[in-house]
């Protein structure tokens, strides 16, 4: 099917989007949800399994207290009510990613319900309603073999590794989010970003989308203004923050083109493709009745008592939004400047750099300047650029001590990013320290004056601005390793001019 997609502005002028997000977060507990197997990422296949997570006959699950606590803490951080009593449920389906033929999940009695998360988009606060937060177990990993592409289509066999099966997985479901109009893709991204930051601040998961410890499904529908909400599709395989935004946008465009042509939207699961940025249909979804949910008979109900919940609530850390506001005040940044720090993903990096001894202004300069530029060029996250906050603080320390000027500091930073070692090591190994030996500098200054008698005369006659040419000459002979300000002062002094 080749249809030309309508223009985005045109689509949002004629249709209103309603979005919804389902996010899965793998908890960073030591052990799985219902057994004592370790949860470390990776590992040889089937080395972290036991009779419980393999679903062997006679084995019985017991819920992990740390996972329950982590889920309640997420619920509290998202302003949810915590159920006084709830149960796990069996979700039955036929697929070998769970060896039991069912997944232990929660159905009509989630642990946390009815909360919200405030996110900021373009300086406006958007309140995202949280429908539920529940706890379930992750599935194993299937590898399809025998086909040409490694996808299930054409494959003849599947090879299954159950290391991941049974790792605690928290599902966070938003209420439908109407009324965001053209901003819907950005709101979706802002929500997942904020959710990630909240969960990270709780220390309950490393929430790394690229490792799959945070996974996102995006629901999208379109309706004409004033009409009922449209049929929604669920887009899976959305594996980065940028993809969240792209997936909503591309699905809005696709649905608009279907609706424009008089077609109907089918309720279905669609797969997002990172390379093309569009979605293709997956299976048509089984209905909830097809999963034949029923209360898990092998697990007794959960009844978190009020004292326990109150204790967990009292111990919640400062949440990212308040934390950011406090930092903004401390750093003395305008809303706009703070926004650029946020957009660059530099809040924590700057905070850590300041903690390591740099001033907020210096820390911000390095992370938003040179290092952001490099991260953008390489298409990577700022945190992965190859320099650590303590290295940046050390670099700035060398600048403040007069050992490096700005230009040399950039050269040293390049070395840091290239893995050459610490700033001090690089400065010493590559002999990049500023020439602070006054004798050597004076000699270079005198040499420059002798070589440029015309310029020297101009300066002597009061045209101080002309000294720039002499500074340049000195910087050249010292290969940039002199402090320009010191050189300038020396030149004026030698020529008998007051600066």
């Amino acid at each position: 099917m080749t249809t030309t997609l309508p223009a985005y502005d045109d689509v949002v002028a004629r249709y209103e989007p309603v979005i919804g997000l389902e996010t899965h977060v793998e908890l960073g507990t030591n052990t799985k949800m219902f057994c004592g197997c370790p949860t470390d990422f990776g590992g040889e296949p089937n080395t972290r399994v036991c009779p419980v997570c393999l679903g062997l006959p006679g084995s019985l699950p017991v819920a992990n207290k740390a996972a329950i606590e982590a889920t309640i803490r997420i619920g509290l951080a998202l302003n949810c009510s915590i159920a006084e009593w709830c149960r796990f449920a069996r979700k039955n389906y036929f697929y070998p990613d769970m060896p039991k033929n069912f997944q232990i999940s929660q159905y009509d009695e989630p642990l946390c319900v009815d909360g919200y998360l405030d996110v900021e988009v373009n300086g406006e606060t958007v309140r995202i309603g949280i429908e539920r937060v529940h706890l379930e177990e992750d599935t194993g990993k299937t590898l399809h073999v025998g086909g040409a592409t490694g996808r299930i289509h054409g494959a003849t066999e599947s090879l299954v590794d159950y290391n991941r099966a049974g790792i605690p997985l928290v599902e966070i479901v938003t209420k439908p989010i109407p009324g965001t109009g053209a901003l819907a893709p950005e709101v979706a991204r802002a929500y997942v970003t904020e959710l990630r930051d909240v969960i990270r601040s709780l220390g309950v998961s490393d929430v790394r989308m690229e490792e799959g410890s945070l996974r996102c499904d995006v629901n999208t529908s379109l309706n004409r203004p004033g009409q009922e909400w449209g049929t929604r599709t669920e887009t899976k395989n959305v594996n980065s923050l940028r993809s969240v935004e792209r997936a909503v946008r591309s699905e809005m465009l696709r649905q608009a083109s279907v609706l424009d042509a008089g077609g109907r939207i089918t309720q279905e699961t669609r797969h997002f493709h990172e390379d093309s940025g569009d979605t293709t249909p997956g299976r048509s979804k089984e209905t909830a009745t097809d999963y034949r949910y029923f209360p898990e008979p092998d697990l007794v109900p959960l009844a978190p008592d009020a004292a326990w919940v109150a204790e967990l609530k009292a111990a919640l850390p400062e949440l990212p939004r308040l934390h950011r506001r406090r930092l903004q005040l401390q750093w003395g940044l305008s809303d706009l400047d703070m926004q650029s720090v946020l957009n660059a993903g530099a809040v924590e990096l700057i905070e850590a750099t300041v903690a390591a001894g740099a001033t907020p202004a210096a820390a911000r300069k390095w992370w938003l300047g040179e290092l952001s530029r490099r991260a953008n060029e390489a298409g990577i996250e700022l945190a992965d650029v190859g320099a650590t906050p303590s290295q940046v603080a050390e670099l700035q320390g060398l600048v403040d001590a007069g050992k490096l000027n700005d230009k040399l500091a950039r050269v040293v930073l390049e070395g840091v990013v290239g893995g050459e070692g610490s700033p001090t090591e690089i400065m010493n190994n590559r002999n990049l320290e500023v020439v602070s030996d006054t004798g050597a500098l004076t000699a270079a200054v005198d040499e420059a004056i002798v070589a440029n008698p015309d310029v020297a005369d101009k300066v002597r006659s009061g045209k101080v601005a002309a000294a720039g040419a002499l500074v340049g000459a000195v910087m050249k002979t010292t290969r940039g390793q002199a402090d320009a300000k010191t050189v300038r002062e020396l030149i004026l002094e030698r020529l008998g001019v007051q600066s």
Partner: protein, 101 residues
């Protein structure tokens, strides 16, 4: 009226990936109907003052500490599997399905 229809049994069989013949559908629908009718009798006895029960013991919050317990070796784990390859369980391909969550 039967508590379960022949079509519902066929649907359940499909969800469970069981190959059930036409004759078997009739047999199973009849048998399941007897079971369901019997269970329904319990429902008739239950009065408004008896809450539905999913667990026979009045326990809540049976939890374990988050401590690693040694499990099985891959050899032990795979020893009961009909087939294995690359230290993974090897199963026939499953069509038209995707991961649960």
């Amino acid at each position: 009226m039967a508590a379960i229809s022949r079509e519902e049994v066929a649907h359940l069989a499909r969800l469970s990936r069981l190959a059930v013949t036409e004759e078997e559908l009739d047999i199973f629908a009849g048998q399941l109907d007897v079971i369901l009718q019997s269970v329904a009798q319990v429902g008739e006895v239950a009065a408004a003052d008896i809450p539905p029960t999913s667990h026979s013991v009045p326990l809540t919050n049976v939890l374990r500490e988050d401590v690693v317990v040694p499990g099985l070796t891959p050899q032990e784990a795979l020893s009961g599997a009909p087939d294995a390859e690359e230290q993974r369980f090897r199963v026939p391909r499953i069509l038209d399905e995707d991961v649960a969550s």
